[in-house]
Amino acid sequence: MAMTDFTIIRRSMTSRMFSTVTTIVTVAVAVTLMLTLLSMRDSGRRAFERGTGNMHMLISRDASPLVSVLNGIFYADPPARPIDQAKLEELGDAFPASFFIPTQQGDSYLGLPVLATVPEFFTRFSPDPNFNPDARPDEPNGSPWVFAEGRAFERSFEVVFGARAARETSIQLGDRIVLTHGTDVSRKAADRADLFEPHVHEEYEYEVVGILEPTGSAHDRAVFSDLTSSWIIHAHDRRKLEDPDVAATTEADLIPADRLVTGIYGRVATRPGSNVSAVIPSVLSGLRTDPTITVAQPKEEIDSLFNIVSNIDQILIAMAAAVLVSSGIAIMLALYNSMEQRKRQVAVLRVLGCSRGRVFGLVLTESAVIGLLGGAAGVLGALIGSQTVAGALRARIGLVVDPVFEPRLMLAIVLGTVLLAALAGLVPSVLAYRTPVAKNLRPIG
């Protein structure tokens, strides 16, 4: 194979392998950081926005509206303080509701959070903020829940799995499962001795009757059970404490203290074609006069959260940009330092007929190639890194983030990196261009 400019560039890079690799790694880290931050920022925001769904409010007894949203919608931690039946009924009468869906959290299945709720959860609530349960059939509407397999629960002791939950547990329709009291998060938070031996509600098996399509929200990794069943299994625990010989518990055995919920998804009735209502502010004001509950507007809480986070985002992205510029300087230094060793090579190439312009181009191309390799490695790193971050977010706060890389953004960053590298290569290229030939052909020493 004939010698080409790329043969010379390749040899130049491999002859300084350590320097070349460390420079490429420096560029790759910067690109990884930049891409991961950009991807996670956009994907994270989308995931949070999707999760709030079409509810107008979330009522709980959590410490603050933001905590309420993180716990009640994103499964960060099971809410600690429940709402009793009397309060539930009182709140249900407080406003013209499109839906008023009680939820209870606290149990888990193989580490996945279980949300006990009512069938309306699947017919009225949707993770899609644009879904209006009161829309006319001919009206444009968002997406309701879609079942990949099976159906919603209709009877006690039936469960539905979110898409990711089903995938992670390889669950099938018809499988029978038992739930575990508490979640990994709650047990760790409580420093419970039963961390490794959690209480399993083994007296009651649930049948898997449905598996949902992915929604891109935190609900994808949840398991949904019937609320009454959840009351029954916990009432059974209560009754066993009172009488160890108790055989079974049914709905008839429930007392008001058993009928607890930890959250309420609420939506105010809206006019057809609209997802908002003029009465929402007054409903919220009215509810917020009750000091025993916390009323959160999920969308507003997420917006507030991201207003705070976006400032940090910008700082992080600026830092990533600074790292990228530093990597450009690293390229310049690596090539600059190599020029002393390469003067003779440049001089020999000039003798053989290589023009100054071509020598300039060789060094500049080498710099750009380092940028390209670093950029490509950075893209790979970002794909892996963002999945790692997404996994950590899912495991730690239950937030399902599917990092999405816009091809145009990736291309722009890689091209920008190549351009930056080429700019960084200008100084060494000029040095190469100006290398005096005669002086550098002389015998050494």
């Binding site: 004939a2 010698m3 190439l349 007929g353 290589c354 023009s355 005669a438 052909l441 002389r442």
Partner: protein, 233 residues
């Protein structure tokens, strides 16, 4: 129509920037095609500088240099570089091979800047190397012996079938036997490709190898200023 001389130098003067004295002063020098000339002079007399002027690596203060009928310094930038690559071969005292490249790649590097079609580069390089006695064209040059490296350098100089080969003290780094072998190779290679050879040396023993020997002192016109060599140059 007769072929132009391989080299024609007229009233050439060169001095380094800031200097008031000429380092090189050649009134007239003509080397015909396939002719071999030995340029002699004391160390630092400007022999290497003259070769670099002929190769177009430096610009003279005055005078003209024609190689194969082309006025070298009338060619600008890249054109001069291409002309050098295709018409002038150079052999150096320290070989100046490209480190990290194989023997064949060193020869092909000379062909890179010529008009020889790319598909012929490899075959031509291997053939040339075989001609000069290198049977391991893919061996990296630093793994070759000194003598073998000199052979690669000669093959590289001859790769483009240049009109002239400039050899700058080609035996200065070699012992007498190796030097003889190297000169045999250079002269026979030039003869085989029909290239003129201008060789510089301060070794008196080299004189017997050449029918024509020119001293730099004698090349300057008596009426003009004698070249003054910088001390230690």
């Amino acid at each position: 129509m007769t072929a132009p001389p391989a080299l024609e130098v007229v009233n050439l003067r060169f001095r380094y920037p800031g200097s008031t004295e000429d380092v090189v002063h050649v009134s007239s020098l003509r080397v015909d095609a396939a002719e071999a000339v030995l340029l002699t002079g004391a160390s630092g007399s400007g022999k290497s500088t003259l070769l670099q002027l002929i190769a177009g690596l430096m610009d003279p203060a005055a005078g003209t240099i024609r190689v194969a009928g082309r006025e070298v310094h009338a060619l600008g930038g890249a054109k001069r570089d291409l002309f050098r690559g295709s018409s002038i071969g150079m052999v150096f005292q320290t070989f100046n091979l490209l480190q990290g490249f194989s023997a064949a790649e060193n020869v092909m590097a000379a062909l890179m800047f010529s008009e020889v079609p790319k598909r012929e580069h490899r075959g031509r390089a291997v053939e040339l190397l075989k001609t000069v006695g290198i049977e391991t064209p893919d061996r990296e040059v630093t793994r070759l012996s000194i003598g073998q490296q000199q052979r690669v350098a000669v093959a590289r100089a001859a790769a483009t079938s240049p009109a002239i080969v400039l050899a700058d003290e080609p035996t200065a780094s070699l012992d007498p036997d190796s030097g003889d072998a190297a000169m045999d190779l250079i002269q026979s290679t030039c003869a085989s490709i029909g290239a003129a050879l201008v060789c510089t040396s301060h070794d008196p023993a080299m004189r017997s190898r050449f029918q024509r020997v020119e001293s730099l002192d004698r090349l300057s016109a008596p009426s003009q200023q004698q070249p003054t060599e910088p001390a230690g140059a």
